[in-house]
Amino acid sequence: MEAQASQFMAENPEHAPARRRPAEADSATYDREHRGTVGEVRSEVPRMRCTAVNVHYGDKHAIRDVSLDVGKNEVLAMIGPSGCGKSTFLRCLNRMNDTVVGCRVSGEILLDGKDIMAPDVDVVPLRARVGMVFQKPNPFPKSIFENVAFGPRIHGLAQSQAELEEIVVSSLQKANLWGEVKDRLAHPGTGLSGGQQQRLCIARAIAIQPEVILMDEPCSALDPISTAKIEQLIDELRRNYSICIVTHSMQQAARVSQRTAYFHLGDLIEVGETDRIFVKPQHQLTEDYITGRFG
């Protein structure tokens, strides 16, 4: 397997020059040729810095040579058509792909300058620093309090019950959920509405004081009002955390993010300031996607 991968790398030079494709080319065709990235992949104040990340699922080359920074106190939106690898890339950032059988990740991913891919890195503290919120709200079948207390308990963040309660309350407050659940902390988390469940999952993620929060389409299962609440919450959370959000909604990307990355069939096509990407995309594929020509 390893040999196969390195052979593939040899055939595909790592940083092919960024070049614009002719407009008449069928942009949805899956070709094995690597596309380079246009735009500003680097941030001035990086929290995470990824260089030449490749992901293989068995024989499938799911992510090809992606280099991308996640800046401090910024929301980075990842957009692109289904199956373009944006979720796969997101799951590299806290090594959630370790749990997927047959998935191999190569390249360099730095968190505050330290390589999280190094063999001696333990995923437990890593995931405490890089939290995750999933597409479908997935509260544990426990009480609201226990859901939020789960992380502090497994990481031993609270010395006493009072301290634990303080963490739970402040996390729920930060997730804008405290007012709605303060009278029923002992009720099961699964009894909340979809939007409340998702905010509970965000409270659960921030209870362990992460530096980065990864969000995988956090609003795709929610109604517009719940979505608005979550988007507002994301904007507030930006003050303390770096946030990386995968979304299918370009409006959402435009509303919440400062930088946007466009993925296409495993390649990172274009990165840049959100305002610039949506107004003046440099790459034809990006333009096709955001003007709704496909995707």
Binding site: R127, F140, P141, F150, I154
Partner: protein, 461 residues
């Protein structure tokens, strides 16, 4: 009746003829344009065929069910009055003689003229009955087929009619299964009621002494006839407890390993291997328990100075536990796999280790289902017979010591009913009462288990 197979073949032939002609007629009435028919031609054929065969088969079944009793009654009516008014048991002997004469078997005594005449009459009646049966059923098949054939018109909804008939057949089949269950329960219930007329129900349920040998003659010694079932249920519970304390930890741990840790390849090999345990016949477990495990336990107990009976509850319980492992592991494995992947992702995403995820998220989520699985295994253990018959012993001792021999409800049912028995003594009827209580215990456990499992399923839907 020996000619029944021939009759059935004839009926099926008629039915397939009806199919053929029905189909042809459907083509004919459509005038070659099949689209004008309501249903496909085959449905018209099937409709005719079903009409030909089903009424005839019903009549055939009823006829065969009542033929013998009707003929017997007619024969009795023709007997001389002094024979016809004999006591039922004596009359049965006479009737047996008559039947034996008819088929040419040896008879108990030299037949007199009246019996010979009756035998002739019996033979005649059988002959008439057979001829009439052929005539009636074949006639009915022809009429049914003709009736259906006459109804075939392009607008006739034969597909709907055939679907209705098929639905009726399916309902009949499921009714048979349900009625069988009801019949078994009722027969056990009635026999138990007879038992409780001889032995008070409180003595049976709360008595501490089990000694079912009752005196057949008044002067017989040493047969007290005590029917206190408590020692039996205590023995059953003791063995079940031992079995579960083997099966639950091992089954559950292997389920967790298979569901959470094992690679797909290991799982593909290990799971079927584990399930082979469930395929071993219980009689093999039985002699394994009696001939290998029990002596081993007795001898190793001897090393520690323990006095262990050669038929100990421990041996039977241990082997039964091994037998039940695949139940627990297979059901728990399903339950653990049913826990949504999103919960695992959530826990891993928080930085939980695999064992933390299992202990704090997956196990609590799967617990109701696991409890259901364990209860199903318990009801299996309570009803298990062969292992305990061979390895647990017969002494009805009220003890909690696993090194002693105990007996179980199922073992006692077997010993009460094996061999020559009279079916009106409390001794044999006790088996039905035991069976009834056992039935209710396992039924209650199953209902409880299914209730818990179902409640658990709803949680994620």
């Amino acid at each position: 009746m020996t000619q029944t197979p021939l009759l059935i073949v004839l009926l099926l032939t008629l039915s397939s003829l009806a199919y053929h002609f029905g189909r042809k007629r459907a083509f004919a009435v459509s005038g070659g344009r099949i689209r004008t028919l309501h249903s496909l031609p085959a449905y018209y054929g099937l409709y005719a065929a079903l009409w030909a065969v089903i009424p005839a088969l019903l009549v055939l079944a009823l006829w065969l069910a009542f033929e013998d009793s009707v003929i017997t009654r007619l024969v009795i009516a023709s007997l001389p009055p002094e024979t016809a008014t004999l006591a039922p048991s004596r009359l049965n002997l006479v009737l047996n003689d008559i039947r034996n004469l008819v088929v040419g078997n040896i008879v108990s005594s030299e037949p007199d003229a009246a019996i010979l005449a009756a035998a002739d009459r019996y033979r005649d009646l059988r002959g008439i009955s057979t001829t009439a049966l052929f005539a009636v059923t074949l006639g009915l098949a022809a009429i049914g087929g003709w009736f259906a054939y006459g109804r075939i018109r392009p607008e006739y909804r034969s597909r709907n009619a055939v679907e209705r008939i098929l639905k009726g057949i399916l309902i009949t089949c499921s009714t048979v299964a349900i009625l069988t269950t009801v019949g078994i329960v009722l027969s056990v219930l009635f026999e138990s009621v007879r038992f409780f007329q001889a032995v008070p129900i409180t003595d049976f349920l709360f008595g501490l002494d089990w000694s079912p040998q009752i005196a057949i003659r008044a002067d017989q010694a040493g047969s007290s006839g005590a029917f206190g079932a408590v020692p039996l249920f205590a023995g059953t519970m003791l063995i079940t407890l031992i079995a579960m304390s083997v099966a639950v930890p091992i089954g559950l741990m292997s389920a967790i390993y298979l569901a959470e840790y094992a690679s797909p390849r290991v799982r593909a090999i290990a799971k079927p291997l584990l399930e082979v345990l469930a395929g071993i016949p219980t009689v093999v477990y039985g002699f394994f328990a009696a001939l290998t495990v029990a002596p081993f336990i007795r001898e190793s107990g001897g090393l520690f100075g323990l006095d262990i009976a050669s038929e100990s509850a421990l041996a039977a319980g241990l082997v039964m536990g091994v037998m039940i492992i695949p139940f627990v592991s297979s059901l728990s494995d399903d339950v653990i796999n049913a826990v949504p992947q999103s919960l695992r992702d959530g826990a891993y995403g928080m930085g939980a280790t695999q064992s933390e995820t299992i202990r704090r998220v997956i196990f609590p989520a799967a617990l109701p289902g696991i409890v259901g699985a364990v209860l199903l295994a318990v009801s299996r253990a309570i009803g298990e017979t062969m292992i305990v018959v061979m390895a647990a012993g017969l002494a009805a001792k009220l003890t909690a010591n696993p090194f002693e021999a105990v007996t179980t409800v199922t073992v006692q049912i077997v010993t009460l009913l094996v061999g020559d028995q009279e079916f009106d003594s409390p001794k044999t009827l006790a088996a039905f009462a035991l069976g009834l209580v056992l039935f209710f215990v396992t039924l209650a456990l199953n209902v409880l288990a299914l209730y818990i499992v179902r409640k658990y399923r709803e949680q994620y839907e």
